[in-house]
């Protein structure tokens, strides 16, 4: 698998969340994702970018165009240096929320992508990686 290009987007305020999802939209159009697939990936990006901002105290999104065995895809990596997540299993459950949200951010966005992984260390931060193949 090769990474054809990548870009870094800061996530420092709620306007950055808008810019991040516009970037994901733009790249998924360029990769000729179907409208439903575009919408799913952009929605997942919006949820995860907001998590990075609200729970991680800000961070960044790295967007990568992937090419593997004649298929193309987009990988999004959200990283923050926030407090980390103590119980990942619980955080992925629908309806669980540590804040004022619906508790759909992590579990919900997992359903909108093809690959999902999360790394988190207490006091160090969190990294969420998602991939959607075309």
């Amino acid at each position: 698998m090769s990474i054809l290009r990548h870009e870094l987007m800061p996530l420092k305020n709620s306007n950055d969340v808008v810019l991040a999802r516009q970037k994901v939209r733009q790249w998924s159009i360029e990769l000729r994702f179907s409208l439903v697939d575009q919408t799913k990936l952009v929605t997942a990006a919006s949820e995860l970018a907001r998590n990075t901002l609200d729970h991680g105290g800000g961070g960044q999104m790295r967007i990568e165009e992937l090419n593997s065995a004649a298929r193309s895809g987009l990988r999004l990596i959200f990283t923050d240096q926030g407090p980390g997540i103590a119980d990942l299993e619980l955080a992925l459950k629908d309806g669980y929320t540590s804040g004022s949200g619906m508790g759909l951010g992590l579990g919900g966005s997992k359903r909108l992508v093809n690959e999902f992984s999360i790394l988190s260390e207490i006091g160090k931060g969190t990294e969420v990686t998602v991939v959607r193949w075309r």
Binding site: S14, V17, K40, V42, T43, S46, E47, M102, L112
Partner: protein, 131 residues
Amino acid sequence: MDRIPVLRMGSLLLVTIQVDMHDKLALQLQDDVTQRISDWGSTGVLIDISSLEIVDSFIGRMLANIAAMSRVLGAETVVVGMQPAVAITLVELGMSLPGVRTALSVEAGMELLFGAVANSQFGLDDEHPQA
């Protein structure tokens, strides 16, 4: 700060969301709609989201909040024009917007609102049928 306009048409409020909303703008809209209902005694709110390319859990929650707050203030809310791809994504995300009335078009939404308003004026709350 920029705002999403809330228009008054007789006893109804009309809101057309045409921008990619950041979270503060969504919260501002929630406040504005409830304030206008109270100021003008509106009995219905129509929210057109046909230009929205995504509805994530935050915007979904805002729509549900507006519907709930309006109901408490005596107004019905109808959300109209959701794009099919948005509907598919929203349900997969785990949000089916319970408690929010929806319609395909502005016209259908208007009919629903006028029906709901007429019913409530005659004391027939169609969500709690007495028969």
